[in-house]
């Protein structure tokens, strides 16, 4: 919650423009309180990793304000680093070192490191100590990376797509570990493109699209802000006007594409009941009937679609303005 006494991560109007002029992050603002688990969601190229790298202090923002534990992660690197753990989107370990050698190397660079065997045990790599990084599976590498991120018992954990490449079991084990760390007071910021992961773990989340935050809040808030849907085929010989008055059923939006009718409603039960009672009385069959309650996925797709329309409109306005 933004009402948390201590903001561990605080970002305002953050921007990142690459050397070629590409604007990857366009004025992003959010904050994460101590002990909170915040997820950044988005399609590929939405700007999640670019944002995360600014928080990790790997690059200086082109604009805006960024604070981690009250410090600037880039200019005050030495103050922030001993208190954070980072897992990059991929790689980061010499291919020819073994798991144990890698862990020792990392431990030697980490203040207050746990015993390396303990860290590797946490991610289930205890039996792979003598295996070279090169020979690990993608999932095992991901787990080694996670072990190194939590090695120093960090106050803040940055995880960039922590479960990409993991099988279902590994994914659940990772979730378990991350949840447990969160319960012990670790602040976690993770990016993911698995909606399920965000739903499962996040206290709050933000959906990024084209460098901006399109929606932010608790999962239920984000979902609630987007309507449920009903779709069906318009029966033969019927017109939209033959349907019962949609406004009275709580439908806020309707659309006819070919023969398919799509209704949006914040009151799914009321709208669906009204529609079905009407169909029963009229003796018509609603083919392809699909009643879908709002979900994060719906919200996500809606945002991606909406944002695209908005950008198109903006572009058109820009053109018109010239």
């Amino acid at each position: 919650m933004t009402t948390h006494a201590e903001l561990v991560i605080d970002v305002e109007g953050l921007r990142r423009t690459y050397a070629g002029g590409f604007e990857a992050v366009r004025s992003v603002s959010f904050s994460v309180g101590r002990g909170e688990l915040f997820a950044l969601l988005g399609t590929n190229g939405a700007g999640k990793t670019s944002t995360l790298e600014l928080l990790e202090g790997l690059a200086e923002p082109s604009g805006g304000r960024v604070r981690v534990l009250g410090h600037h992660p880039y200019t005050e690197r030495a103050k922030v680093r001993p208190r954070v753990g980072v897992m990059l989107q991929e790689g980061g370990f010499p291919a020819q070192l073994t798991v144990l050698e890698t862990a020792r190397m990392w431990a030697g660079c980490t203040s207050g490191a746990r015993p390396v065997e303990e860290a590797l045990e946490l991610v289930g790599l205890s039996k792979r100590l003598a295996v070279r990084v090169k020979q690990l599976s993608g999932g095992e590498r991901r787990r080694l990376d996670l072990a190194m991120a939590v090695l120093g018992r960090p106050e803040v954990l940055f995880l960039d797509e922590p479960t990409t490449g993991l099988d279902a079991e590994g994914r659940h084990a990772t979730w378990e570990l991350v949840r447990e760390l969160r319960d012990q007071g670790t602040t976690v910021l993770l990016t993911t493109h698995y909606l399920e992961e965000a739903e499962e773990l996040a206290d709050r989340l933000a959906i990024m699209h084209e460098g901006r935050i399109a929606a932010e809040g608790r999962v239920d808030e984000v979902v609630a802000a987007h309507p449920s849907r009903i779709s069906f085929e318009l029966p033969e010989g019927y017109h939209m006007g033959d349907l019962p008055p949609l406004g009275q059923l709580g439908v806020t939006e309707h659309q006819l594409t070919g023969k398919t009718v799509q209704l949006s409603t914040p009151q799914l039960q009321r709208s669906a009941t009204g529609l079905l009672v009407w169909a029963e009385a009229a003796g018509v069959q609603l083919r392809g009937l699909d009643v879908r309650s709002a979900s994060l996925e719906e919200a996500f797709l809606h945002i991606a679609r909406d944002a695209r329309t908005t950008t198109d409109t903006t572009k058109r306005e820009e053109v018109a303005a010239r």
Binding site: P94, G108, G124
Partner: protein
């Protein structure tokens, strides 16, 4: 995955454990790099075999030269050349490949998310090669002096300064070259200019004295020339103080230029 260990007295996150120090962190990186060097066969050959093979070839070449005329002996000709080969193959080409490999593996990027500072990362990564090279230099100098029967250097300071500058310069040139190298494979090409120019233009294969005056003047300005000059002239006694200081100034200029290039151009992650 076991989660039991998590809950055993590890509640306080960011708990006070031993803090790392710059020296400790660099030692850790050095140890990892030494392990990696031992596992990289082509680097090992470069580091251990090349300087020795090339030393023998320059020895047999030197025997056919009229060195007395230039105030040199076989020893003062061959030993500095041998040290320079260590600088080139033990440090320069090896470190270019190492930095580029670590960058491509995203190791440098990953390290930068942690506690080591940028300089520590670069220095720590180079320690293994530098230490190996230093040992090789000492072995070659002692063995060379015994086998070739040379006297003690007339100006030990010049010789030591030459070696120290040489090591620093080779490491910095390697870091600067790595900034312009895209992959480990292409490093075989990007090291060629410095390598070849040094071998032919810095007095390794033949002393600069055999060149026409203008050519010799130009060659004296090449990066490894002052290093070789300090070692060779310091040993034979042919280098005056003003000549020695001039050589130090040239070497220092190359060191500053390389460091500046590194600061401006070094890339910490692959270009994608």
């Amino acid at each position: 995955m076991s989660t039991t260990t998590l809950t055993q007295g590890t509640h306080a996150t960011g708990s006070a454990g031993p803090r790392t120090t710059p020296v400790g962190r660099m030692a850790t990186l050095a140890r990892a790099e030494l392990t990696l060097l031992g596992r990289n066969r082509s680097s090992l050959v470069m580091v251990l075999v090349m300087p020795i093979v090339l030393t023998f070839s320059s020895w047999s070449a030197a025997r056919g030269m009229d060195l007395d005329k230039m105030g040199l002996s076989i020893g003062t000709m061959v030993i500095p050349t041998s040290v320079a080969y260590v600088l080139i193959f033990g440090i320069y080409t090896t470190l270019v490949a190492t930095y580029v490999a670590r960058r491509e593996e995203l190791v440098l990027k990953r390290l930068r998310t942690g506690e080591p500072g940028d300089l520590e990362i670069l220095a720590g990564t180079s320690v293994a090669a530098l230490a190996t090279a230093l040992v090789q230099c000492l072995v070659l100098i002692v063995a060379g002096a015994l086998v070739l029967g040379v006297k003690m250097p007339s100006n030990l300071l010049f010789v030591v300064v030459g070696i120290v500058f040489g090591i620093a310069l080779a490491a910095l040139l390697a870091t600067a070259t790595a900034a312009f190298t895209k992959s480990v494979e292409s490093s075989q090409l990007t090291v060629a200019p410095v390598m070849l120019v040094s071998m032919f233009g810095s007095g390794l294969i033949f002393p600069l004295e055999v060149l026409p005056d203008t050519a010799a003047r130009i060659c004296e300005l090449l990066p490894l020339s002052p290093v070789v000059e300090l070692m060779r002239g310091g040993w034979s006694g042919s280098l005056t103080w003003s000549g020695g200081l001039g050589a130090m100034a040239i070497a220092a200029a190359w060191i500053v230029l390389s460091a500046y290039t590194v600061k401006k151009r070094f890339r910490w992650e692959p270009r994608r």
